[in-house]
Symmetry: C2
Subunit: 253 residues, 2 copies
């Protein structure tokens, strides 16, 4: 029977997982999905995700693919998986793809959202999806810093501390195509940072957010961003913003 | 030392609790708060809530009061309690009140919101705060039914099954002052029902929502609501909508 390559579009609440990627003895999105797929197909399934979200990071639309020779209709994959998966992981769609398609290597970009509240007290029903940076925060200062990050740069300064130097043709060079700070019109003090790019280093979005928030809080000047990038030194950037404010919103191909 | 009567304004995520009211051996909001207050004051504290939200119901702004002779400043109550409470319960404000104030008996009304999604698949990050009624739902039919519920009525038909007949001067008579269905402009198929009234019977909001959704789904006509109310019989109304879509938004005095 000819091999099929199936693309899944899925959403998850990362709260109860140690991230996307399979780990020994700890619950991950990849493991839960691979186990459900193995039960459906009777095969050992390897699922390739478009990215490896960290512990606590959420996804509105992750893309993943796997190969199978099971003759299961696409609609049955959608329904069948959702009936087996916990409610914090949902399959949104399944599609048949050419064998060459790979969720990670074929991806041309991603868009992330990062939500945070500057209110003195974090509303309990938002605490799992919104980071809390209480106190004054000046959106104009944050916006003044953003243009320096746009376009192609070596983002070593914003890579996870302790990471091995980024490998491959482009090293730590990535291109940020969009970077915006949106304030919630109905609830002042609640913000979302939207960032789109052709790829992201480990912790890159969270390190950019953590540093931008320091600018908003007046603890850094917007001008420092240019120097930070040029220094290519993680030690100079701000703290890594908490994982639970981050949502993978879309993967582009 | 003279007795003080302190009003707390608080918010909570009801997901991990069996409701507001103290129960033997199961976690409740009231118990967690009373224990934190006892630790702060060194007294045995009885906390009166404006209402007894069911298991899984959330609150954006519950009001509660307690009496104490502890000489603790109000700001210290706010800060001290939040440092002791889990993040799914937050004190928003504390205020000094006349001794006659009682969170429940002094309340003149409440406003609730009920969120639901009719999308085929429930987004994981909303699943704890939004009920799921997948499939076609006609907001116009639901809105056509609503005027019959407005104003003063005997709401026995929408009281929790198995409740003892409502006691007191007004029995099961309540007045609904506002009832609206709002569709999320950015995400069609996501709705919120807003209902304000001078008081609510047990499960009344959830039974009204469950019955309205049946109207939206074409399983009842809007006209049936008048008959339902007149019948004063719980058996005729629709199912009780799930608790987790419900949020106590405000209490009026």
């Amino acid at each position: 029977m000819s091999e099929r390559n199936i693309k899944l579009r899925l959403a998850y609440d990362g709260t109860n997982y140690v991230g996307w990627q399979r780990q020994r003895d700890q619950p991950t999105i990849q493991q839960i999905l691979e186990e459900a797929l193995a039960r459906m197909t009777g095969e050992r399934i390897v699922l390739h995700g478009a990215g490896r979200t960290d512990a606590g990071v959420h996804a509105l639309a992750m893309i993943a693919n796997f190969q199978t020779s099971a003759a299961i209709p696409l609609a049955a994959f959608e329904r069948g998986l959702n009936s087996m998966l916990p409610p914090d992981i949902r399959i949104l769609a399944a599609a048949e793809m050419p064998l060459a398609f790979h969720a990670r290597f074929s991806a041309s970009g991603k868009i992330y959202g990062y939500r945070f509240s500057t209110a003195p007290i974090m509303p309990p029903c938002e605490r799992l999806y919104t980071a809390h940076f209480p106190g004054p925060c000046d959106p104009a200062a944050m916006r003044a810093a953003m243009p320096q990050l746009m376009g192609e740069h070596d983002f070593s300064s914003f890579e996870a501390a302790g990471s091995r130097p980024a490998e491959g043709r482009r090293g730590a060079v990535r291109c940020i195509q969009r970077l915006e700070l949106v304030e919630d019109g109905e609830r002042p003090g609640n913000f979302e940072i939207i960032v789109a790019g052709d790829g992201f280093l480990r912790h890159m979005v969270r390190n950019i957010v953590g540093t931008l928030v320091e600018v908003g809080q007046g603890r850094r000047t917007p001008e420092e961003f240019g120097q930070l990038l040029a220094a290519r030194n993680r030690i100079l950037a701000g703290p890594t913003a908490p994982a639970h404010g981050l949502v993978l919103q879309e993967v582009f191909y």
